[in-house]
Structures are given as structure tokens and as C-alpha cells.
């Protein structure tokens, strides 16, 4: 029995094949497993590997209640992913049709991070760790930022 991660997001996309291509080109996703294609060509099930995590993905199937952000009018869940270079990934995302949500910023907790909404309506937070921050230093910076201590 293979070791599987405890929580796996299952994305329902309005065009799953295009979404898979987007995640491959923008986030460096790989598709090591088998892809199931339903009659008519829709993706019934696919598995993507991004870094050390797995993500499931399929097309919309309204008959079984599988609806995408495009159909339900948004996505209340944000996917957070660590990337090697947040600026490079953001540029790739923008070029591939994503909508950037604010600027990429260095954060007090040691990450450089930004957010985008991909062409399929999913929101992503992308981050690269740029410094190791000790708990003491983190507390000091937080107190400074939020005016306490």
C-alpha cells in the first residue's frame, strides 16, 4: 500500500485538460499517474504532483454535483504552494492568463509571496522562503509591526 498524503485537494475545472497544461507550465506540475478520460473527452480523473504534494483534478460533471469555480461563481478556497522563485512563477502565471492579486511582497516571517487567480477560477498563494527567521526574531518583528511589546 503506497503512502498517501492525508489531505488532497480535488479540483473541478471548467477545462481540466487546459488546467493541467497550465499547472505544468506555470507551477512545474508533473503527471506521474494514469489519466482517465470520460466519453466525450472530459477528464474523469487526473493526478498532478507539485513539489512533494499531490493534487487531483477533473472536469465538471454537473450530474454528480461536480461543479467548477466558473459555474458556482468563485472559489472560497485558496491553494498555497511553495515555489523555487516566486517572481518567476508569477511572471509565468501572468503570461499564461492568470490575474495577479496585489503585489509580490517580502513578508516579515521570511517568505516572499504573492497571489493570483488562474484562468479556471482557482486562487493560488505562491511563496518562496527568502530567510530563516528565528522565533524570537519573528516575535520581535510582529510586535514592531503590530505595535505591541
Amino acid at each position: 500500500m503506497s503512502e498517501r498524503q492525508s489531505i488532497t485537494a480535488y479540483l473541478v475545472a471548467s477545462d481540466a485538460a487546459a488546467a493541467i497544461d497550465f499547472y505544468k507550465s506555470v507551477l512545474g506540475a508533473e503527471e506521474p499517474g494514469a489519466r482517465i478520460t470520460m466519453p466525450g473527452g472530459k477528464v474523469g480523473h487526473a493526478e498532478l504532483k507539485i513539489g512533494n504534494s499531490t493534487l487531483y483534478l477533473a472536469d465538471e460533471f454537473p450530474d454528480i454535483g461536480a461543479l467548477s469555480p466558473k459555474s458556482v461563481g468563485g472559489c472560497p478556497v485558496m491553494l498555497s504552494v511553495m515555489v523555487p522563485d516566486v517572481d518567476v512563477v508569477a511572471e509565468r502565471a501572468r503570461a499564461a492568463g492568470a490575474r495577479m492579486l496585489g503585489e509580490i511582497q517580502d513578508k516579515f516571517y521570511g517568505d516572499r509571496t504573492g497571489q493570483f487567480e488562474d484562468p479556471f477560477g482557482f486562487r493560488w498563494s505562491i511563496a518562496t522562503q527568502i530567510e530563516e527567521v528565528t522565533p524570537e526574531e519573528l516575535e520581535r518583528r510582529a510586535a514592531e509591526m503590530f505595535g505591541e511589546g
Binding site: A34, R35, I36, M38, P39, G40, G44, H45, D63, I64
Partner: protein, 172 residues
């Protein structure tokens, strides 16, 4: 035409990329079928779900599972319909609970890609069985297709693991 449409609407399609060249992967598929084809009740054909599988060449070529301790105890999964090494393999696919005239068909295409081979497997004919056939496990439509497809997905992932280990993931 109506039969074609019904067949297409019930077709099981599963694909996977494997870093092995088509000719070599075809050879592994047929010669080592017992080694990579998953064991267990979802994949093998009679208890204890670990009989020896092979493509038996005796006049016609057929895919069989045979009890190694009792060679008379065997199940013929089906005759080979297409044998084009490195390109296309097709065989009938019968479960032990099929009647003589019932059969489904598996087509496996070995498509060359930059990184090796994309296996494209299409399993057709489930719609020709009665809706209450035990092979349907009480399922229909999307749920039936997904159940059959998940079985094949697991099997092809087992093929990928085996073939990659055997060849060191090389492709030429």
C-alpha cells in the same frame, strides 16, 4: 451507428506516460504480464487472485490466468485480436461470470512520445452486458465507468512502476 454511439458512450479510456520506448514496453507488457498485472480480486480472475497470467501462443494467442498448482484450473480472458509489437495490442476481455457469447474488448496503443511511450488503453463493450450483470456491481453511467477506469489506472500504474524499474527508466 446506434451501436457505435452506445459503445463510445460507455468506453473506458485510461492513459499513462512511461519512460520506456514503445517496442520495449510492448515486450514487457506481453512477456511479463504476470509480473506487472496487479493481484487481488479487482484485477485477477479467480481466488486466491494470484494465478499465473500469460499470453499463451497455441495456434491463436490468448490471455489466460492459470492456477500454478492445478493447471486445469484456468480462465481464458480472451483471444488476442491485434498483435502489432510496439504499436497496438487488442484482446477480448471476459470475466468468469460472462456467458459464452458475452465479451468486451481491450485496445492498448503504444504511442511514441518524447519521454518514451504514452499507453492509451480503451476498454469497450460493457454496454453489451445486461444492466443487471454482476460485472456491473450494481453501478451504471459515470460511476460504472469510473470504477472500471480506476481498476485500469491502478493496473497501468503498476505496469509503469515495473517497466521503469526493469529498464531503469531508459528510453531511446
Amino acid at each position: 451507428m446506434k451501436e457505435d454511439q452506445a459503445r463510445e458512450e460507455a468506453a473506458i479510456r485510461v492513459s499513462i506516460n512511461i519512460a520506456v520506448a514503445p517496442d520495449e514496453l510492448f515486450q514487457i507488457f506481453v512477456e511479463d504480464v504476470d509480473l506487472w498485472w496487479k493481484r487481488g480480486p479487482a484485477h485477477r480472475f479467480f481466488p486466491p487472485w494470484k494465478g499465473r497470467m500469460r499470453f499463451e501462443k497455441n495456434g491463436e494467442t490468448r490471455l489466460v490466468e492459470q492456477d500454478p498448482d492445478n493447471p486445469k484450473r484456468r480462465h481464458v480472458i480472451g483471444e488476442v485480436l491485434v498483435w502489432e509489437p510496439g504499436v497496438h495490442l487488442a484482446f477480448e476481455f471476459r470475466l468468469p461470470n460472462f456467458s459464452r457469447e458475452q465479451a468486451t474488448r481491450v485496445d492498448v496503443s503504444f504511442v511514441p512520445i518524447e519521454t518514451g511511450t504514452r499507453i492509451e488503453l480503451v476498454h469497450t463493450g460493457w454496454e453489451t452486458l445486461p444492466a443487471d450483470h454482476p460485472a456491473h456491481h450494481g453501478l451504471a453511467g459515470h460511476a460504472l465507468i469510473m470504477m472500471k477506469a480506476q481498476n485500469w489506472a491502478g493496473n497501468l500504474e503498476a505496469l509503469k512502476t515495473y517497466a521503469t524499474q526493469e529498464t531503469g527508466g531508459r528510453h531511446e
